[in-house]
Symmetry: C2
Subunit: 201 residues, 2 copies
């Protein structure tokens, strides 16, 4: 039996953060720093996310559930979760979900170190023919097209509704919303490396 | 002499919207509709942008000026505007600027028709070796890397400060901010087609 983490022992199946199973990013920390500056990510943003880490942790599953509902309501988005028989691959969805939830927690808590950078490379690849399905041994289409990954960003960045009950101060809520938005952009931009033509990323 | 539009006759040089000089997008309107649904773009958003079109028109140059200042302050962003002599190519910058300003107005006012779709393809290509410099006959680096195009989105989406003087109602300001954010995501996602590996966009 799988529990809520998608595995039998409470560890998240296929969550290869910091392990030898993760891809390696070719980025230098200087290149990462340039990208952080571009999205406007600051030490203040990092500290603000840490301050509210427990809130993100407590809301992560609800966030992912709501995003999954948006995906499920749009056939052009849900088709990438369909199995060989033409029906949604529920095991694939069940295995991916706890990693998606963990990603929310990671965005709020993980330092931008080498293991984190490497794992963003891995996540990108898992959306492309290079690695999609491989981690979970499933047979869904071999791609989530980049346009849907990018197009879905405004849905994922708008988290005010999830956080408002936990952050009473309106200015602080707004600041957390901005920090989260910048962080999501940073992550998705790193993932898009897997889609880009040689030399164009 | 060039005026503020970067041309001698008041037309914007190289602004090939709706002309035979524009690239053609291979997208169908059904594919476009799927992408609009993904970012959450609605008829209400479109009408809201139209309602405030004059505000965007009056603020477009100021917006672009502020974004250009952000770019100018970050060498990893400004290097793509440097000429063969290693100095910023002021003529290139002067020619690109009015098109950037016009883009803001277009986002607020243009229907998402074939001419608009084709021109987004053209804008994407003008950021890559396929067409960068060609329109203006300049010799800046042949690329704006996709990671900087994507990473800069949070800077461009945050327009509250420009619009707040013109939209007194806080809820309406928030709605315009959201509509603008969705629209920018849609545009940049279309531009990224030029960067993607075959079949992955």
């Amino acid at each position: 039996m799988m529990d809520a983490t998608g595995s039998a022992d409470g560890r998240i199946a296929g969550y290869d953060f910091g392990t030898s199973a993760s891809a390696r990013s070719p980025l230098t920390f200087e290149e990462l720093s340039h990208l952080e500056q571009t999205v406007g990510w600051t030490r203040d943003d990092e500290q603000l996310m840490r301050k509210h880490a427990e809130l993100f942790r407590s809301k992560a599953e609800e966030m992912v559930g709501s995003w999954r509902a948006v995906i499920g309501a749009q056939p052009h988005l849900s088709q990438w979760f369909v199995g060989a028989e033409g029906m949604p691959d529920e095991e694939y969805k069940a295995r991916v979900k706890p990693r998606f939830v963990q990603w929310v927690v990671d965005v709020a808590t993980r330092p931008h170190d080498r293991a984190w950078l490497d794992y963003q490379e891995e996540i990108g690849l898992r959306h492309t023919p290079a690695k999609k399905n491989r981690t979970d041994g499933r047979h869904t289409p071999p791609l989530v097209p980049m346009r849907y990954l990018l197009g879905f960003v405004p849905v994922v960045t708008d988290v005010r509704g999830f956080l408002s009950a936990g952050i009473a101060n309106a200015a602080e809520l707004e600041a957390v919303q901005r920090a989260w938005t910048k962080a999501v952009h940073l992550h998705v931009t790193l993932w898009c490396r897997a889609y880009a033509r040689e030399g164009l990323w």
